[in-house]
Amino acid sequence: MAVASETIAVAVRPHHTLWGDAIVRLRRNKLAMAGMGFIILLSLLAIFAPLLTPYGFAQQNYSDILLGPSSKHLLGTDQLGRDTFARLLYGARTSLSVGIFTQFIVLSIGLPIGAIAGYAGGRTDNFIMRFVDVMYAFPDLLLVILLSSVFYGTRFGGSIYMLFLAIGLVAWVNISRLVRGQILSLKTRDFVSAARAMGGMGRYLTVRHLLPNSLGPVIVSITFNIPRAIFTEAALSYIGIGVKPPTPSWGAMIQDGFGLIFAKPYMLLFPAIALALLMLSFTFVGDGLRDALDPKLRR
């Protein structure tokens, strides 16, 4: 009996792409969703700050100096009578931008460099890694200060873009090393040989297979880079080459609060807690992303 083309019902799973699958899994992660929610909430608060508080962030009121939280000032006032809640809201803008935009610079430099080095191997790898070594050998604080000081002397000095540039230029090194390390170990894995056997070469291989699999530690690293970038901004503000006043930033507020810790400890606590919450959020989101993107967990 000749069996013609019989269609056999086979349980075939619907085809998910890596990213589509990731989003599904991410949605299920409660902590990550909470974190993302907080970040979005904070961004909205920051954008609509003028509607949320009657006070300007630079508005000084000398009869209301260093007051505690009250109905008039939700979170109290600072040493010049400026409303703390208002400064936190406007400061969120600065801190969020610094944290996030520096990572764009970090990724756009670090990822390609690390990937090329890892994949190409040999002399290219060596050359790139030596260049990375040079960058790496610099004490970051020194380099950021030097770069910022040099920028500060130019026309653009003190602008927030210079800040992004200075911090980003120093921070990409970690990522590139991480990516390279990951790619080096992944290169020898079976799925890579399989993909090669199927004819995939170079860029296709890197982008489609190697990079997504390297992303785990990269993402973890980024979520730690964000607080680092914000702290770096605080250090620069302390020296005088951070964001120009009267623009508030949480880093600068923490610095101010630090000096007043024996007088009014809450001046330090409010921005520190705000910052900690933001970091927690980024961390949960980062964790969630990593789990979501892990191809091993795909079903």
């Binding site: 260093l66 005088g240 007043l260």
Partner: protein, 556 residues
Amino acid sequence: MKKRTIIFSLMAILVVLSLIFTSCGTGTTGTKPGKLTDPQEIRLNLGGEGNTIDPNRASWTNERSVIMQCFDGLLAFKPDLSLTPMVAKDIPTLANKGISADGKTYTFKLKTNVTWSDGTKVTAKDFEYSIKRLFSPDLAAEYTSFYFNIVGGEAYYSATDKTAAQKTALKDAIAVKAKDDYTLEIKLNDPLPTFLNLLALWPAYPLRQDIIEKYGDQWTQPPNYIGNGPFVLTEWVQQDHYTFVRNEKYWGTKPYLTKITFLEITDANVCLAGYKNNEHDQAGVPGGTEKAIMADPVLSKEIVRYAQLSTYGMQFNVTKAPYNNKTLRQALATAIDRVAYVDKVRGGVGKPATSWIPPGMPGYDATLGQQYTFNPTKAKELLAQAGYADPKTLKIKFQYANSGTNPTLAAFLQAQMKDNLGVDLTLEPMEPKAYSALWNTKQFDIGFTGWGADYPDPDNWLPQFYGTGAGNNKTGYSSVEFDAIAAKALKELNETKRLQLWADAHKIVVDDCPTAYFVYRETFVLKKPWVKGQVTTGMDGSIAGDMFLREVYIQK
């Protein structure tokens, strides 16, 4: 029975009397305190290490604080800042022929019992060596220009590219001579009534030629650091602490303290924490916390506050538009509510200032500068007069070093300009070094700076700040009238006339407003109750009361 009572009473009285007499004046340690049973040791915070503790080369207050404990000069300042002879027997005057009739020759007679901490005698040669060394072109000392009136000094100092032989010749030509072991003669180019003050300052402390020549740069390391002062530096762990012990061979009244430690904690919060933890006996407080400390039940009793002899203000670069417009400067100066700043923001620490010379200094005039008392209406009028009826057309910038209380001050100023005049003040905080560079090269717009007295006289305040082309004149201010008066005042031997001339000069400067004066600073520190005998002056170094640590004693 009665006899025995009498005898016992007599014996009791004798015992009590002898106790009283032995507790008073234990040798040379003074008579103020009763019996001192506690270890006479004190721990203070210097806050930061200076570059050098070589008296000729030092200029920072934290360097001065160290040097002052180990050396005594020809003259010294009393707590009221008048001069008193120290190594010198008397203060030279016209009457005792210490000063020549033309005011150009000074003769000092030294005490014969003054010794170094290793026992050798201090002679006039030690002073001659030190002052000549101060002018050495290879030393590049920083306070030398103050002494340029000494004949031959400036010539030697400028001889950086001459041969060794030429340098030696110039050095020998300096008119500072040890006529004999205990007589020192100094000749000046011009009479200078305030010259004696300079001999109470640290660059003129005596130095040991043999030690410096033997050890070179290492002479400032203990045990080579030999001085003739009440304390000896026995230990210097760099960046960590200095330890001084009492100079047991001290020629004068020995201090009570047997040990002093200067720590180097740069963070004011840590310093305060250490104070609360009883690790230091005195501490400064982080700026902005003064109000809270005054409200604290325990700490409020330990506050020591007194006026420093210092003034701070906004300097205009009068060579740059729009600051060359006098009316504009006056407008800006009148738009600042100094009282609000001092009372509200700084909790009452400091005093509003409308003139240059601070209270406590001869030459201080409380009536001067009243036209700049805060008055927003008047300020707006002046602004319009200056040509800026529409404040939006005025663009001004304020540059400052981003440290200490400056950021708060800058933010305050910005708000003042906006609220009172409608003017936008752009703030440019800078790293301290970058700011100094901008300042020294006169490229700033409005800068923030001040001055603290080296010695209590107007000629330490006026000529080099506001004289045309003077060393410290970074505002670019130049007034023919001022220069004329200053030139006369520097040489005027009649004290009343001299002070009047300086008062006139002061008035000219205040009216022309190259600087909008802001605040007279006040020292505000905490001191443990067992530290007694402290004497503070407006000219202290980095540590409150460090000019007279020899008077301090501990009593718990």
